[in-house]
Amino acid sequence: MATYSDLSLHVRLFLKGYPFSRYAIEPGLCAKLSKPLNQSRVALVTTAGLRTPDQQGFDHSNKKGDSTFREIPTAIASQTLIESHRSYAFDHLGLAADTNLAFPLDRFRELETRGVIGQLNHRHFSFMGSIVGPGKLMEETAPQVARMLREDGVDVAFLTPV
């Protein structure tokens, strides 16, 4: 179980001192479900630093973090995805064994087959968390992903950290 007390002293001290509340989301922000889930188009977003074999890896050298994203096509075989997250705060072996652990593409394909969701969007997005300075993320890359998914007609997004 992950609470602050389970983390290393270094990570814990960093999290305790980080001004998370500065980035608190505006109260009342709420996009209501416009149609039943079984008629909705769904996209996945992960911050696990996943990418396809032909995409460039994430930048591990930027102290503020890499705010870029990778577009993951629905058609990809999940076992070919590569995890290149820079964080040492988690055990990477889980994701190495099964990327569905933080990017449940196969699970959502199953939900689509069962009719639980309407349709899986043709693309999904992967960021690499570990973004200490989120200015560019908030102003540029997150809104860009949001616009692309809206243009795709996506109704619902499921997001997973790592």
Partner: protein
Amino acid sequence: MCNQTVCLVQAALEREGITTVSISLLREVTAQLKPPRAMWVPFPMGFPLGEPNNPDLQHQIIAAALRLLERNDVPVLENFKVIEPGTTNLHE
């Protein structure tokens, strides 16, 4: 920091009218960011959907999270409870 990144992307999606739900691994972080709908899971960092190669558990977690999509009493931050075999009350 992954939890913060998820919340910030989540907010951008909601501003475009996309209904979202996220998984949280660090309740303390998500409680400060206050995204519209999140479900905290009692698993270690790196394991947001429980266990690798355990589709049943992964589906239980996803189903519990998707159930929050209908909630508009934001911000919603629920806890996922692992289902004990033989119980019928799947998600509290």
